[in-house]
């Protein structure tokens, strides 16, 4: 499946995704696996609700005082010799990278997985600058070779099967490979090791910036971020401005919450805490360290009682793994870098304009995302509020507007409602069969295309009520 950013809307993209059996099977399998592992590990760990509560409290405090902690963080970073760049927009972040790369005369870049670099389409810009960019996370490497975008925050190549991966690796390396996982991973290790050794710049994201020490905490299972930071002479960190924690003590909470929520692991395989570039007399580690702190629409959420909490997100992807909509349509159907419930909330907030305004509708509002969120972000409430804002902006389709006006007319008065139901009960007669409507016509088609619609019963609850009351009284 190719990237679907160019498609018209989430509905069309979802229709396309629903025809891809491998994708649906892979998404089901992966999300089930991650969800079950999370349940097992949090059950064993115990007191999970208390941990979630603690996570929420820490994130709430941090974001409510973000200016203070960002100031403290960047002062400490600079005290250890790192360079800090503040970027209000994606363009400013790209400009900062260009200046660093030009000053270093850099040609080759290795990267570890970072959603914020996906957000600003960094690879595309680096390639336009004439640089050779290699993604080193195995999943990201696969989708980079395929020319695609991630379909899951944590497992980006969820939609690729091993035959496709073998073909991509064979084309990249010019050697014959089997479809054995071990062979494919060994190819990636050999090839990417050469990329690390040749790179001028290593780019990573940042899971958490620790204000009290000016440290960057990075989590990976493969260990690729460590080689990205260690081998090239320059290390550039990209971070969303909200990725701050006040203290090392707070990091302990999130070192439990993040891997348990993301992949159901008790602990991440590698957590690197980097505090500045290499010290005097050290002969490995980057000589120069740059940290680019990005706003890109985040500050618009500050002070907004409805949406400030979206900045509490720690990008674990747990909401994707429980979402019944994500489960059916996968990540690309969202058409945004951030898929799933968090993507449906975040994408319209970070981007002005109409591009992602349909995403809040890609939800059943079941609230499973809130239950799964390790920092208790009320994503389902936010989706409703985004819909309200969309409607208030007057951008809804005239047909939808007319339908809801009619709904209000009919359901606003009991008499009108009763009359309508009586008429509908008669009208349904020609298309009702065995207690269901199956005809794929008219306004019901959206439902009956994939499910049967139950017919209106012979008597409504209101009509039954007097009889039920009599029976109840008779027994009592």
């Amino acid at each position: 499946m190719s990237t679907t950013h160019g498609s018209t809307n989430v509905h069309d993209r979802a229709q396309h995704a629903l025809t891809d059996d491998f994708l649906r099977q892979a998404v089901h399998f992966t999300t089930d696996r991650l969800r079950n592992k999370k349940q097992a590990v949090t059950g064993e760990f115990g007191n999970w609700e208390a941990w979630r509560e603690r996570g929420q409290q820490i994130r709430q405090h941090t974001i409510a005082n973000l200016d203070y902690y960002l100031d403290q963080f960047t002062r400490n970073l600079e005290a250890h010799g790192a360079h800090v760049h503040f970027a209000a927009t994606a363009d400013e972040a790209i400009h900062a990278v260009r200046e660093i790369a030009t000053a270093q005369n850099a040609k080759r870049v290795v990267k570890s997985k970072s959603m914020v670099t996906e957000e600003i389409h960094l690879n595309h810009h680096l390639e336009e600058m004439g640089m050779h960019v290699v993604e080193t996370d195995l999943g990201e490497y696969i989708i980079q070779l395929a020319g695609e975008t991630p379909s899951h925050i944590i497992i980006p190549a969820i939609h690729k099967n091993r035959e496709q991966i073998r073909d991509l690796f064979e084309a990249a390396g010019g050697e014959r490979l089997t479809t054995e996982t071990r062979d494919l991973a060994a190819f990636a290790r050999r090839t990417l090791r050469q990329a690390y050794l040749a790179a001028d710049i290593g780019i990573t994201g940042c899971n958490f910036g620790i204000a009290e020490t000016g440290s960057i905490a990075l989590f990976t299972n493969e260990g690729n971020a460590d080689l990205v930071m260690n081998m090239p002479k320059t290390h550039i960190v990209f971070m969303g401005m909200e990725r701050i924690l006040p203290t090392m003590a707070d990091l302990e909470v999130f070192a439990h919450l993040l891997p348990k929520s993301a992949t159901g692991q008790n602990v991440i395989t590698y957590m690197s805490v980097i505090t500045g570039p290499r010290r005097q007399h050290e002969t490995d580690g980057a000589r120069d360290m740059h940290v680019i702190i990005l706003d890109n629409g985040r500050s618009r959420q500050l002070g907004d009682p409805d949406f400030q909490a979206v900045l509490h997100c720690i990008r674990c992807g747990a909401c994707l793994n429980v979402c019944p909509v994500y489960r059916q349509i996968g990540g690309h159907a969202y058409g945004s870098v951030y898929p799933g419930p968090i993507g449906a909330v975040l994408s319209p907030l970070l981007n002005n304009g109409d591009q992602y305004q349909d995403l809040p509708y890609a939800s059943s509002l079941c609230g499973a995302c809130y239950e799964a969120c390790p920092v208790k972000i009320p994503l389902h409430d936010m989706l409703v509020r985004e819909r309200q804002r969309f409607v208030a902006s007057g951008r809804v389709k005239p047909t939808e507007k007319a339908a809801f006006q009619a709904f209000r007319q009919l359901f606003g008065k009991a008499g009108r409602y009763q009359t309508t139901i009586r008429i509908a009960r008669r009208l349904q007669f020609p298309i009702a069969q065995d207690g269901y409507i199956r005809a794929k016509i008219g306004p019901l088609a959206g439902w009956t295309m994939s499910r049967d619609f139950p017919v209106l019963p012979k008597r409504t609850f209101r009509e039954l009520w007097p009889e039920l009351t009599r029976k109840g009284n008779g027994r009592g």
Partner: protein, 225 residues
């Protein structure tokens, strides 16, 4: 954008002025039920061993330094590695294994090391700053004689430690970093390693050794029971 303007854009909608102190914190770090758990040397050793092996780590415990040296020698023989790299002599080793490293002619890391000399080592030998019982984690701080390359590049990582280096929780190890920062001594890199390098990116099929070591072997001296 300059820092002052950037921070002002954040402070203003939060109803704050740049330079304002933070609001008082109601909670910091982990809940007390986690921080106040009982911890004894025996519990820490048992928990570390269980967690570390649960992450596919291999662990051998020794009652004396001499036994550890002999065991270390056997481990290297079993591996049959041709090229071994190790921290330098002045690095913070918690157990003296110099004679074994010399016998195996290990390449040693020091302040004049060319990193590329270590690019093809098969086994990397290090000590550690501490290890965490709750999670089976080894913590390695970088330094002039403790190059990061030594444990990141090879397929096999051997870590030498003492049971007295075990702490109960991740929080204790992180507190150590905050204290090192206060003293102006925090290392540029503190690496928390929990098992072997792994990925499930190919059809959810877990594979090890994608970038970092595929085997992590802990040789632990029992100096505290």
């Amino acid at each position: 954008m300059d820092k002052a303007t950037f921070l002002e854009r954040i402070a203003k909608p939060l109803g704050r002025m740049p330079g304002d102190p933070p609001s008082p914190r109601t909670v910091v770090g982990v809940p007390s039920f986690w921080a106040d758990r009982p911890s004894t040397p025996a519990l820490r050793t048992a928990s570390f061993t269980e967690r570390f092996t649960g992450l596919a780590g291999e662990i051998v415990q020794y009652a004396s330094v001499e036994e550890l040296r002999i065991g270390f020698d056997h481990v290297l023989k079993d591996i049959g590695a041709a090229k071994i790299g190790a921290w330098g002599k002045q690095a913070p080793w918690s157990v003296d294994v110099e004679d074994v490293l010399e016998r195996w002619q290990a390449l040693r890391w020091h302040a004049q090391t060319e990193r590329r000399a270590f690019d093809d080592i098969e086994v990397g030998v290090t000590s550690c700053a501490c290890a965490i019982a709750d999670t089976g984690t080894i913590v390695i701080a970088s330094g002039p004689e403790a190059g990061r390359t030594v444990h990141q590049v090879p397929l096999i990582h051997i870590v030498i430690l003492r049971t007295s280096q075990l702490v109960q929780s991740l929080g204790e190890a992180l507190r150590g970093l905050a204290q090192a920062y206060e003293r102006g001594e925090i290392a540029a890199s503190n690496h928390f390693i929990s098992g072997a390098s792994r990925s499930s990116d190919i059809e959810n099929d877990q594979t090890i050794g994608v970038h970092g070591p595929a085997r992590v072997i802990a040789l632990m001296l029992q100096d505290m029971t």
